[in-house]
Symmetry: C2
Subunit: 404 residues, 2 copies
Amino acid sequence: MSQRKNPNECIPQGFLFAAEEGGLRTHGSGPDVALIYTVAPARVAALFTANRVKAAPILVSQDHLRGSLRTARAIVVNAGNANCATGESGIRAARQCATETARLLKIRPNQVLLASTGVIGVPLNASVITRILPSLARQLHPEGYVAASRAILTTDTRPKVAARSLLISGRRITILGMAKGAGMIYPRMATMLGFIFTDAAVEPPFLRAATRRMGELSFNRISVDGDTSTNDTVFVLANGMAGNKPIQEKSPAGKKFLEVLTAVAQELAIEMVRDGEGARKLAEIRVEGTVTEKQADAIARSIALSSLVKTALAGADPNWGRILAAAGNAGVAFDPHHVDIYLNRTLVCKNGVATHFSEPTLQRQLRAKEVLIRVIFKQGRAQTRFWTCDFTEEYIRINASYRT
Amino acid sequence: MSQRKNPNECIPQGFLFAAEEGGLRTHGSGPDVALIYTVAPARVAALFTANRVKAAPILVSQDHLRGSLRTARAIVVNAGNANCATGESGIRAARQCATETARLLKIRPNQVLLASTGVIGVPLNASVITRILPSLARQLHPEGYVAASRAILTTDTRPKVAARSLLISGRRITILGMAKGAGMIYPRMATMLGFIFTDAAVEPPFLRAATRRMGELSFNRISVDGDTSTNDTVFVLANGMAGNKPIQEKSPAGKKFLEVLTAVAQELAIEMVRDGEGARKLAEIRVEGTVTEKQADAIARSIALSSLVKTALAGADPNWGRILAAAGNAGVAFDPHHVDIYLNRTLVCKNGVATHFSEPTLQRQLRAKEVLIRVIFKQGRAQTRFWTCDFTEEYIRINASYRT
């Protein structure tokens, strides 16, 4: 596996970025509109929210991807307004942004992808975005990714960027990702935007398959508050400028590419949880020894979503009973008398019953920034990992006053 | 429909209650063990948690109900310790309580039902309960229901009692219920105990059917935090001492009995939500105009469980976008452009798009103790009601320090 890299050393060839303040945020300041451009047309794989209510930028992006045979030259993204539940005028606003971008960059409108995040149900004034597009186009620059990664944030406290490089048949390939998260983070796509750029050439069917698997192992295995948004979007763009032979599935190169792509996505996903609204603590949940991966996933998800587990984490309370109870809610059959639970390296529950452990010592350990919860079922060999955060008063404070 | 009654005027004949402090609570004081006795054997219908992890008192009660052909003479219930994840010794402790009760009251052990609520994974010392049973047996009294309703509380701030009477062929029948809730409250049985007593004679198959339907329309339609406990139990006991002809299904008397039983259970359920951990506000969610009741239920549940909807309620924020987004997560197909949303009597979203309403006026209204959320789908004629509470910093405070 490739090592974590300084993003500045891993900017994929041919990708340019710019960001500026349009004034869409009701709170705070800083850039809120970003433009991303690729010099060579990129193959695109996308993951969109599973929510029945889909924001206008998603509907328009889906339409553009069909029209462009899944290629793109640019992404326009804004924070501050989700452009969701805005009816026909929302669709028009999204199309206007794409048309104006296409005109400026001399590309086709359906080569422009759109993403928005922010408040739902407030009309988006497209001119706030279109009037700064010329200035954004002038500023496009490889190192603009830093500003772009800031322009997509909402309640996030910091930008999330991850990068890796790998060698494929002697060619150096780079992968750079940026994401925003914070709240409404839940498996099956959360209020999150994630953009991953690579200069690799990748066979389109494999790019889509790799993106799906990457999503399953990263963005779909995290939870902040169990809500799934109307705007979740992941775009993976591969522009082929590294000059490698297109990577195919079931090849050693394909395996390596999927590994590194997943590593970038997991790093972004874990950063999202760590920066979850009000989160002070990251918990990794490992479920082991179920018969199927699906069972392990269901149990890990139930634990990760339990308000009681998450408040116990906030209180550094080694309350494994809540973990066992949450596992019991997953709809998976198991005998509680064959379950072991570890908190960090301490066995707290053996065969469904309390062990003798030092509660003060463990409590002290649980005050750390990272906690490992292992739940072991002794039924089979499947396993999964899932990431969640603690549930604090700060989460409530943030969300009880988001708009007002 | 019968009117809400002063419980003192509706104590069903032949039911006696007593409660005392055994010292099981780690916090606070007050009675924590209750004994309930019926002079004539009662027919029993029970609802138990759907959690795969079931506490010892549930396993023993299920065993007793099989052995006694679903009849009972007594219930022993304690707060402070859930007797769950306590292994074989937990089962032994539960059986010891039943045996000792049976000996004292000269009944069979399998005529004793058990229920516990409190911390999971801490061994229950049966002698704490058995040593006060003689004193409890001496104090049995119809008006002991007041003390019993207090002995079952955990983080609840007040007891929950509801009562009704009805006339069936000239005989006055009374129904008295008590419940505890507060946290871990979620459809499909929550951390709740509910005991409903009636002096009606009811045909056993109808008693079970009526109890199931009552549960669907009350305890399974409420949510505090989305967690389902290992100890949830509802017992409905009918001892026939009113002397009526046994009530049958599909008779006018059966219809009336189900209505009044459901009214008692709904009153208890709503009180549980109102007293939810940290709750300052009760929200009734009405979903209307879906094709099936199942769809309406799924959507209402998704809204009721959304942390973002619940924090918006806490902030008196008329953030209907979160309501629409939560509806979109229910897995039910619908066109967002045919959805209307009312907050109290204000239409805030018409056909999926914001209306012009006065936000300050509505915010002021939403600061009230009760809020009505109506979501209308225009697809069919099915509807449902669901109750939830706001999600406050106090919830976190309570649960981050429950044990420690």
